[in-house]
Amino acid sequence: MIAGRVLNVLRTAAAAAAALVMAGPGAAQGFGQPKAPVFGEVDTGHLVADLVPEKASIAPGETIHVALRQRIDKGWHTYWRNPGDSGEATQIKWTLPAGWRADDIVWPAPDRQPTGPLMNYGYSGEVLLPVALTAPADATPGQTVELTAAVAFLVCEEICVPEDAVLGLRLPVAATPGGPHPQFGKTVAAALAAAPKPAPLTAVFAREGEALKLAVAGAPLAGADFADAYFFPFDGTAIDHAKPQAIERGPQGLTLTLTPGYGFQSPTPPAELAGVLSLADGRAFEIKAQAGALPAEAAGLGPPPARAPPAGGGGELGLIAAVGFALLGGLILNLMPCVFPVLAMKAAGLARHAHERREAQRQGLAFLAGVLATFLALAGLLIALKEAGAVAGWGFQLQSPPVVAALSLLMLAVALNLSGVFEVGTSLQGAGSGLASQRGMAGAFFTGALAVVVAAPCTAPFMAPALGWALTQSAASALVVFLGLGLGFALPFVLVAFVPGLLTRLPRPGPWMVGFRKLLAFPMYGAAAWLAWVLTVQAGDMALARLFAAAVALALAGWMAGVAQRRQAQGGRPVLAGSAAGMLAAGALAAAVWPGYQPASAAAAPASAADIPYEAYSPERLASVRAEGRAVFVNFTAAWCITCKVNERTALSTAEVADAFRRTGTVYLKADWTLKDEIIAAELARHGRAGVPLYLVYGRGSQDGVILPQILTGKTVVEALEAAAAG
């Protein structure tokens, strides 16, 4: 109805205008009927327009700004100098007394206005389009000049209506430059201050395959927040406006990946890429890029952290909520399979002192200290790595094969100790209860440290948002979150030691403890075996041979140490056996760690547990599959991530899920983070995560993926796939 009415009105108006144009050259070309100017506001139909001056008067030879103000109806918009895929920029045609000069519009940075598959650039609400106005040197003070502006603009909602007005402004000429206009001075000055300006920036563009890279670098961009950065080109054919602009940060700038526009299909492609770079902090720069080599300081730091991840991510958490999640996550971490062996060790220690209250408390605190110190050390290292520009995430320590090998040997050593092959510190036995207590505290501290190191692979569901959030924050708040995590993790043991009554419920120490301790050795052997498996995934079966050789040597060293300890207990001085054991152990460890491992070849990698065919993830593959209009399931996983493996065994390998993949034609992409991979780390960060697992489902053509819960069930996956296929 409305469209029809507008259509009729337009037909009449257009016909009238056409008749006028034909009437003769006297008609003001491009602006329809020459009307008498209106000195004030004009409602042109879908906006109210007027001319507002920066100053109340103008002096001879002075330049002031006069702005065309548009107060646009809600839901409607006008356009920027490059309107984007459709639309038309506002035009002003001045009629000025002789000698007066008006420059071009100083365009404010526009908004993006997506409409269906298209993208427009323009304004909504209230916008001021300032124009510099210069009075001639011989203007007569005391006179009032009349300035006339014939303005024409396209106003669009769903439909577009060309509207126009002839606006007038009376401006007194004063002998000397005056102050700001009492009513509009501030608004015009603010519009001018916010307008994009040239800056000492280097801008370079380059074609890279199908993409167009635009790099901008310079001091004004150092350390800037690049989330939501956007390039608005002046030329409407330079880029495909509707395509997303991928952002890569650098220490001194950023690189945008654009999609070339029509202009690059022309026999004379653009030699220059000029436009406005706008940042989320409100700054906007006018840039003029030349073709050339992209500067290195404008890339290398990955995409900006997600500001508001699609759902369930950590981007919007506050510090308190993040610490709360971390505390809860730490508590839950105690139930995770990775830490179980170490906790078993701790439980053994606790049982030994269950009925010596003060000793138990001291050990509880030492355990807490060990946990916190290790969390802080790991977090500090991680933050330092990120500051240095490396793309790392939680669990990074397990991405290094030598670290995995060393941890496996450490687990073996602990297991051998629990089995009674050798003792730790037995040589000091009988040297006084004070020392014994100190020894116990060191042991508790060490247990805490060990628990944290092996806990990393089991990122608990509650930890993921908190850690993801923490790693995008300042170092101080990140460390606070990690402290919360450590506190939650250590809390059960500290509570047992301090809450009266809990401790006494534990069984009394006795000979049964010897057997219990030996039983607890087996989870530790299991942990060593698991780490050995992780190593084969990372570095192939040759690495396994090396690790096993080192493990056997270490076991021999343990046995020798045990022999030496027993002989010493009988009054001997087994210097030779003791030092031989130490050297053998050191040699075994060194052989396992150095030289480094070769990454496993892709062919040597073990097949997936799931019988669903999958492809290796790459951003390019994801983009191309999505371009084909297929739904995609992306599994971010790692061999050392127990949660991932559990999900893959239980949820992702069922017949229903396999069937759902076939039925919906969903492509299964697997992003394996077992080894360090900056692209995957960057993608995790983009979704507000610091570690795996992460499951994303992209519907046909949907913009952002949907994040699935970290604990998957077959039902969740099937439903998500069906929803994606329907979309």
Binding site: L10, A18, S86, G87, G312, V697, G699, G701, S702, A720
Partner: protein
């Protein structure tokens, strides 16, 4: 956990509702023009294939759009169409407006619109689901394409070099379609194969 799950579900629903059509590779100059089928004002199914061996002009159209009206009310589009068809060129006018949006036409409406506006095109094709429009990446009305006798795309872009709704802008405008047709007729390569299309956005089905 429950709010989290609910948020996920909501996000999934939102993604379903707002999912735009599958991205298709944009048409490129010198490449075969995407083939299509669409129903004309008489209810017959037409396809690009049936015009093999002829030069074809595709014109994206929305009768309510001021930029389209600029050309039709002045009779400029009709004379361009007559000139082209007299030279043996096939001129197809396409409407990709979705039902309920500006410019949408039923076959009956299309027929009466053709008669009322004395349109000179070979056929007026209806593309209410936007399939053809999206295959060509048609963005504006008008958005013009020229396909040569071998079925390759030789021009895409604006109708002329004066991106304005004002009828006065017709005067002195360089018409890119007329120029491309003249180049083809003379056996030359099209001098300006790509320009920026201008006008209203195509009102694709939501």
């Amino acid at each position: 956990m429950i709010p989290l799950t609910r948020r996920l579900v909501l996000a999934a629903c939102a993604a379903t509702l707002t999912a735009p059509a599958a991205a298709v590779a944009a048409p490129a100059i010198g490449q075969p023009a995407p083939v299509f089928r669409a129903v004309d004002a008489d209810g017959r199914t037409r396809s690009l294939d049936e015009f093999k061996g002829k030069t074809v002009v595709l014109e994206w159209h929305n009768g309510g759009c001021p930029y389209v009206q600029k050309y039709y009310n002045a009779g400029a589009m009709q004379s361009l169409q007559r000139q082209a068809t007299a030279d043996g060129v096939v001129w197809l006018t396409l409407v990709s407006s979705g039902p309920g949006t500006q410019g949408h036409l039923t076959p009956a409406e299309a027929k009466s619109w053709k008669a009322a506006n004395k349109a000179g095109s070979t056929a007026l094709l209806l593309d209410p689901d936007g399939k053809v429009g999206k295959a060509y990446d048609a963005r504006t009305t008008p958005h013009m394409y020229v396909v040569d006798k071998t079925g390759r795309l030789v021009y895409m872009g604006g109708i002329d070099d004066k991106p304005a709704a004002d009828p006065a802008s017709l005067k002195g405008a360089k018409n890119y379609v007329a120029a491309a047709l003249a180049d083809l007729k003379a056996g030359r390569a099209v001098a300006t194969p790509v320009t920026r299309p201008y006008g209203c956005s195509v009102k694709y089905k939501g």
